[in-house]
Symmetry: C3
Subunit: 164 residues, 3 copies
């Protein structure tokens, strides 16, 4: 039994981005030599999620998968994009002060919607590994979602594998 | 330390179905011989979820647990059942073309609501195993949920156990 | 490779409570001696969740983190607090009868909202462990959420670690 971990980077835009990271995760799995076990894909960013969804073929004008844009549409109804202070309680005055202390622009903290949307979807997925491959069914793909709309950022995708 | 995996099948209906699979999962655990570790119950279907919930005793006229039907009621408000094309972006023309190539009826792709509801609940649960048993508290049960309303289908429930 | 588990208790109030349990979990991890692996923080209570979120500095008049209260605000819109029977299907007559058999007050079963909110957030988080520490990024914290508003209760937080 062994443990293996590796990270890779992706680049998000200033809109909700959903990146299919299945192939990168497969490469990590192949490099680990693990044949049987479990694999965790994890986001250490609290405005991001990892999810398993079908690739739905069609892309919108921004390049976003139709099914993912439908998900954004649902979230927009129940957790509207944060456009101004006072729309949510967060970010409060202490949070803004702390952000200034880190040389962050106050407006960068207007990502309340991203914190709330991403926590509902969850920070990780756990996938069974059998015969050296992830078991994702015929259509399942792993996506790294970044809901933060205030900044384009480089994000870290973390893969942890336990098995033999 | 050892790894154990097994699958079993369930049959869903043409409405959101929630099947209590706790006993089947317990049988898999007992067969594994694992006394201490973790157990993952996983759906490889992207319109299905696995969840832990209390069994709520009462069933509605369709045989659905009251608490599960309340969950469907919440989803119906925020992610209405997909009844016709154009209600969501998905399924788009490329998706329908791909489905035709697999000899699927176009209407079978009108399961957008199921993809969205299930991804919010998640594809798996991870349960601690102690003294040869899952730790689910006094009332916790494991349910396999199928949100797809366009087809009744046989579904695969996947159990992965790591421990000793 | 070894398996380690431990529990600790927290006290909830008669309102949605979110307790930062990061330090307690770190103590469990340190006591385990595990340097590389995965760590699961799990709720065996079906009205509670475990989640990873940023600490947002500001607290409301009840002592609730602003970002968590914003989450409650979203849930209040889509899954309103259960105030009376008939608002949801659950709790039904068989459930009330079973509760009476356990010497529970019938009103204690009016926690439908808590069951539904918590299952959407999930019952556990899985966190990678590297170099003897959880990988939570710069701002991530682990919270134990209790959504049950009908009773203040002692709750069990369960930590399971696999690694070496």
């Amino acid at each position: 039994m062994s443990i293996f971990h590796q990270t890779f980077k992706i680049q998000s835009a200033m809109r909700p981005t959903f990146q299919d990271v299945t192939e990168q995760v497969e490469q990590v799995l192949n490099g680990s030599g693990v044949e049987e076990g479990i694999l965790v894909v994890f986001s250490q960013h609290t405005t991001c999620s990892v999810l398993i969804q079908e690739a739905s073929d069609d892309l919108d004008y921004w390049g976003t998968d139709f099914l993912m844009q439908d998900l954004v549409g649902v979230f927009e109804k129940i957790i509207p994009t944060c456009r101004t202070q006072g729309q949510y309680l967060h970010p409060g005055p202490l949070h803004i002060e702390a952000a200034r202390g880190r040389d962050e622009l106050p407006a960068w903290s207007l990502n309340t919607d991203a914190h709330l949307r991403s926590v509902i979807l969850g920070r990780s997925v756990t996938v069974p590994v059998e015969d050296g491959a992830m078991v994702l069914g015929d259509f399942g793909r792993i996506y790294f979602a970044d809901f933060d709309q205030v900044r384009a950022r480089e994000r870290l995708v973390r893969v942890q594998i336990i098995g033999e």
